[in-house]
Symmetry: C2
Subunit: 412 residues, 2 copies
Amino acid sequence: MKPIEFTIEKNIPNALGRAGVLKTPHGTILTPSFVPVGTKATVKGMTQDMLIGLGAQVVLANTYHLYLQPGDELVRDAGGLHRFMSWDGPLMTDSGGFQVFSLGAAYGKGISKVLHPADASMQIPERSTADDGVPRLATIGNDGVSFRSHLNGSLHYITPEKSMEIQHNLGADIIFAFDECTSPTEDRRYQEEALHRTHSWAKRSLDFHKSKDISAHQALFGIVQGGRDEDLRRMSAQTIAEMKTAAGEMFDGFGIGGSFEKADLHSAVRWVNEVLPEDKPRHLLGIGEPEDLFLGVENGVDLFDCVAPSRNGRNGTLYTKDGKIHIVNTKYRTDFTPIESDCGCYACSKYTKGYIAHLFHAKEMLAGLLCTIHNLYFITHLVADMRRAIIDATFPDCKEKFLSRYQAGKDI
Amino acid sequence: MKPIEFTIEKNIPNALGRAGVLKTPHGTILTPSFVPVGTKATVKGMTQDMLIGLGAQVVLANTYHLYLQPGDELVRDAGGLHRFMSWDGPLMTDSGGFQVFSLGAAYGKGISKVLHPADASMQIPERSTADDGVPRLATIGNDGVSFRSHLNGSLHYITPEKSMEIQHNLGADIIFAFDECTSPTEDRRYQEEALHRTHSWAKRSLDFHKSKDISAHQALFGIVQGGRDEDLRRMSAQTIAEMKTAAGEMFDGFGIGGSFEKADLHSAVRWVNEVLPEDKPRHLLGIGEPEDLFLGVENGVDLFDCVAPSRNGRNGTLYTKDGKIHIVNTKYRTDFTPIESDCGCYACSKYTKGYIAHLFHAKEMLAGLLCTIHNLYFITHLVADMRRAIIDATFPDCKEKFLSRYQAGKDI
């Protein structure tokens, strides 16, 4: 029995992109689709009714965070993550690999998933070593990763099998193989070494997961890594795509991992998706800015998750069709129009920029809530629009129209 | 033209309490009714749909806070408070008097509306003087109050006429006369002096308000003060009840003000409501704990507002029929039942105590939101239940049943 079913409805002519339908044990996801992130079993500030109202089809929670708090066994005892967080729709959990990376090589360096050239203050760290004077919370070995909790300093050890066990306890519909996410600036030798580890961990994740009955209800996605090197990316995609258990069982879908530089994103995704089999879903991990979503969809990505829309919202940065705006700018204090007059989100249907600006200045909780609703609505609907454009065979037009207006936006 | 209409549907036999219907320009309030507080034009964390869902019929905003931020003229320019905060139902604004008191005599003393004997750490301040070494942000004169903004230290001067102007700009359906709220521990001489001032300010508020066309759409409530002295309370009620403009216009309803000690609440409310005319609504300012609500309703109060239910919610203290509980108590971590299984609020219909406890431990925004929803639902429905009991002639039974169970609660 297959835990998920994926069918392609339409392709973008002369490109890798496609519109599909992904059936999971907790409902159907129309792809491409943006997946809001509920790190600690909650998309920050959102009730489940709000999530449904803003168009979320599926939510991704973080294995690392839930393992530490409240603990995956507690979630299991609550009846699994769906019941614990009261979300009846499809759920994913990531592997914990990215968080281990964040607390290890990238700790304290402000590394995000995509390094935008505009982020002048962002330092790309050199190769992580024990003696570079930078504090580390994680140590990567070939068998697994030992790390200290960012909450209380307690020591933990995660292996691929342990990551699977945690994700089995959480019980999401789609789970990910344990992997090592490297910085794009690591040298070639380290990239190869890390990739070798990721593949070995993928095999152990696959073997462990498929040996359990629960694999009939939980799909396992293998993660492709390989940094910015074309041959490593293609080799990784091939390896993960062909990986099987002794009984011939394979991954149910794929994650594309990595901490990308803006310029690498396009090519890395294309290299990988040219290799991966067409009939299985592909999830680009941690990517969610509009430009990147268009690149991803065009190049064959079916699923995206990212904290950017919700985090930006809490900080008062709002997506609009004319680019991002900062709601705390003085000019919005007396602007009694919605964030976008043609937006169907709850915040735009009910409230004005002037009111939301007041809420931010007054440090009111409702400020972050309304902006999160708007941003998640904006991004989920943008990806839904891309899907419609693929089906209508107007994707290139949809992309050009959106980006020319979006990138001409002047506010920030 | 009268801005509001109030009719009594039924009285409690041999008591002052009554069930009524209060018609305002923005809809009808069935009384007695609890009024959630939206200090800065937002009931903290609540969307307007949540407020409607939890049973709010009317919201009270704070004149003092809105005058300072975003400014009453900005709210006027936005089309008034209803449009600014997108609340189509009845709205009230208080007079600013209590906040002036809080920032003046009570500043830094943690004075709340009701001093419970259990609050052992609470110091009741001595009479405010300039030389007692306690910092003051407000100075009370006979013409008005000068105070410094708690936001930026800027100097402001509020007179009764200014309070009316601010409340006219805000445009609530029911507004309050400017008053001085004294501490129950002030000496008799000061109570008399303050009461004299409150009455003089009430007359100026009434004259100013009734001279404006807007008084056809905004009801003005006069505030009765008088501390814990029966003769002062009765005299104040008489004075405010009989107060008229030269053209014979009177207050549309009454507020009962004061910073009460628990033991005084019952008697003070009774003294006042024995004197006030029966045919106008009475609002007990800043009271909202279950025991106090029963006392208030029994003794003829029609409206209550209080921050306690929402503030307690944000702090994880939840009202239940078995008393208050602290959701962060260890035992709730693995309690996968709703806060109350027979509660119809969104939080109880959707989430468990274990999940909400996790949200609190993880410092997630949704924690405060869900607990605010539950507490406001609990209190608004408790007062609605009292109304039903008055109509069914079962109020004493309803009170006894609720309080015996509530007060036997063991959690805190």
